[in-house]
């Protein structure tokens, strides 16, 4: 059994950046007065000459990052997902995505698990916004080990990347001994033949607990972890659709434009099967402790198991 690390993916991100920057001199980091929260502060302390705090000016930060990339740097521009993909959407589109510049955008405090700060800071649209940009890769790691490898992969990839980071500390479930991150490839975490659960981000652990619990009840549910939402792994989705006939998607994001829509897009073109989406239903969040909110929005082991069970029973 692998060691369980309880860490927020934002922290894993900050640590990974520092490790990579030791050997890669082109890595520079930008933040917009949230370095304590996005954990780029760890990098700032170690590499002050390569850290640019842009102050509370996210639009400027994205275009500055574009200018740095145009001169050969590998900039990571970090702030909350809300202000990166929402406020600075147009700068990301025109300064970064259109010229295909090698900028990595790190959106922290994504989803409702921001918690007490409430709706203004709970960005559940970031993946949808970034997905629409031509050439933008979208990566949503699930635990400490996956984030560590995802940051490495983002550095190796030449082009714009959106990396989603969570605020909430989560238990790791991957085993670093045999984990490998392959950009654009889903990972089957649990085999099953009755139905497939496809999850992304820090909610994957709950989905894993749910399918294990269902197994004890005699239900064979497959679980696929999609860390790269764009480009999405069509092959693993089509295979799941063909072999299990039903899919449930789980994401801490709006069901409009997120993982569920990407999966449905693949199945509708290549192997139409019913797709049920668990996620934020066309609504805003509200204040409250993160874990309580996740439960209230159905993003927890019990609800995932219940939804899957209902579908299998009524099939």
């Amino acid at each position: 059994m692998a060691e369980i690390v309880n860490k927020a993916t934002r922290e894993s991100f900050g640590l990974a950046l520092c490790e990579l920057a030791k050997t890669n001199k082109d890595i520079v980091v930008l933040d917009a007065d949230l370095s304590g929260s996005t954990k780029t502060g760890i990098f700032a302390k170690q590499f002050p000459e390569r850290f640019l705090n842009c102050g509370i000016a996210e639009g400027n930060m994205m275009s500055v990052a574009a200018g740095l990339a145009a001169c050969g740097k590998i900039p990571f521009a970090a702030t909350f997902a809300m202000f990166a993909t929402g406020r600075a959407y147009e700068q990301i589109r025109n300064s970064i995505a259109y010229p295909k510049l090698n900028v990595k955008i790190a959106g922290s405090h994504a989803g409702i698990s921001v918690g007490e700060d409430g709706a203004t800071h709970q960005c559940c649209e970031d993946i949808a916004l970034m997905k629409t940009l031509p050439g933008m890769a979208v990566i949503n790691p699930a635990d400490h080990w996956e984030m560590t490898e995802a940051v490495k992969a983002a550095v190796e990839l030449d082009g714009p990347v959106y990396l989603r980071l969570g605020r909430l500390a989560v238990d790791s479930f991957n085993d670093p001994e045999n984990y490998s991150f392959e950009f654009g490839k889903g990972i089957t975490l649990h085999e099953g033949s009755d139905i497939t659960v496809i999850a992304s981000g820090i909610i994957v652990k709950d989905a894993l607990d749910a399918v294990r619990e269902l197994e004890a009840q005699g239900i064979s549910a497959r679980l696929i972890n999609i860390h790269t939402i764009k480009p999405i792994d069509e092959e693993i989705i089509v295979r799941a659709a063909k072999e299990t006939g039903r899919i449930v998607t789980v994401e801490e994001h709006s069901i409009i434009g997120g993982l569920g829509d990407s999966v449905s897009d693949v199945t509708s073109r290549k192997c139409p099967v019913p797709v049920t989406k668990i996620g934020i239903q066309d609504r805003f969040g509200y204040s409250g402790p993160a874990k309580e909110l996740l439960k209230l929005f159905g993003l927890c082991k019990d609800n995932i198991a219940k939804v899957v069970l209902d579908i299998v029973k009524n099939a």
Binding site: V28, E49, R50, L52, C54, G55, A57, G59, N60, M61, M62, S63, V64, A65, A66, G67, L68, A69, A70, C71, G72, K73, P75, E90, Q91, N94, S95, Y98, P99, K100
Partner: protein, 281 residues
């Protein structure tokens, strides 16, 4: 700068204006007004000020230029063509399907274009990023960016100004093409933008206000910019929108409209007469 040099710059700027007028005419769209107002600035930058080599457009140590007011690109394209980045005839394909010269600058498609731009305010920030990259790498290249005066209504310009000043980017020079007009009318009527020089100074810039059509004054200002240490520099270049074509000069209507057949002939006749006068001087 001696008079021969000045005459040569005037000749090149006149040819750039002819390219801009021809490009927008052939495209049946584009922005002649703001292209003509900035033509002398582009000419000075590429033929006198900047360390660039058209044969090596990707040289990592070259000076950079960002046209933050991206719509002014027709005359920039003409200057790049005159400098040798691509054939002048490309101007005739401006804005056409499949053309190298896009309606707004595209760094991936056009040799010599250092940054894609067009959405106002963003080029200024990108120029800051380039200047910061030079500082981080200990390189001595300089970064220039031309902004519109209307563009200075964008909050991002001032975010960029704060950044440039905070990081002491003395390798950065903004030039404001201060032609006083924007799409909806006079800048002073639309948004009351005033005291540009003082505003930039308050943001920590060194500044000069000059006649943006005088190569002597451009030379003095760019020299001052290079000598300014520890802070970025801005040149407020007073210009005339539509400069060089009598019926376009200081006319708000010529912001984003292409000349028709008759207007094209008239404009080219005027520019050809100016060119002849320069060549005979």
């Amino acid at each position: 700068m001696n008079s021969t040099e000045t005459l040569e710059l005037k000749r090149l700027a006149c040819k750039a204006r002819m390219g801009a007028v021809t490009g927008t005419y052939k495209a049946k769209s584009g922005h002649p007004g703001g292209s003509l107002s900035a033509a002398d600035i582009f000419t000075y930058l590429y033929f006198k000020e900047m360390r660039v080599d058209a044969k090596n457009p990707d040289d990592p140590d070259r000076d950079r230029f960002v046209l933050s007011k991206g719509h002014g690109c027709p005359s920039l394209y003409a200057v790049l063509a005159l400098k040798g980045y691509f054939p002048f005839e490309e101007l005739e394909n401006l804005r056409h399907v499949g053309a190298m010269l896009q309606g707004h600058p595209d760094m991936k498609g056009t040799p010599g274009i250092d940054m894609s731009s067009g959405s106002l305010g963003q080029g200024a920030s990108a120029a800051c990023g380039m200047a910061a990259a030079a500082k981080i790498d200990g390189k001595d290249f300089r970064v220039y960016s031309v902004l519109g005066d209307g563009e200075c209504e964008e909050g991002q310009v001032w975010e960029a100004a704060m950044f440039a000043s905070h990081y002491k980017l003395d390798n950065l020079c903004f030039i404001v093409d201060n032609n006083g007009l924007q799409i909806d009318g006079k800048v002073e009527d639309v948004a009351g933008l005033c005291m540009l020089k003082e505003k930039f100074e308050a943001f920590g810039f060194g500044a000069a206000e000059i006649d943006g059509h005088s190569f002597e004054e451009l030379e003095q200002a760019f020299n001052a910019a290079r000598e300014c240490k520890g802070k970025p520099f801005v040149i407020i270049a007073k210009t005339v929108k539509g400069k060089g074509v009598s019926f376009m000069e200081d006319q708000v209507g010529w912001h984003g409209v292409a000349p028709n057949d008759e207007q094209y002939k008239k404009a080219m006749a005027e520019l050809e007469a100016q060119l002849k006068a320069i060549e005979e001087a």
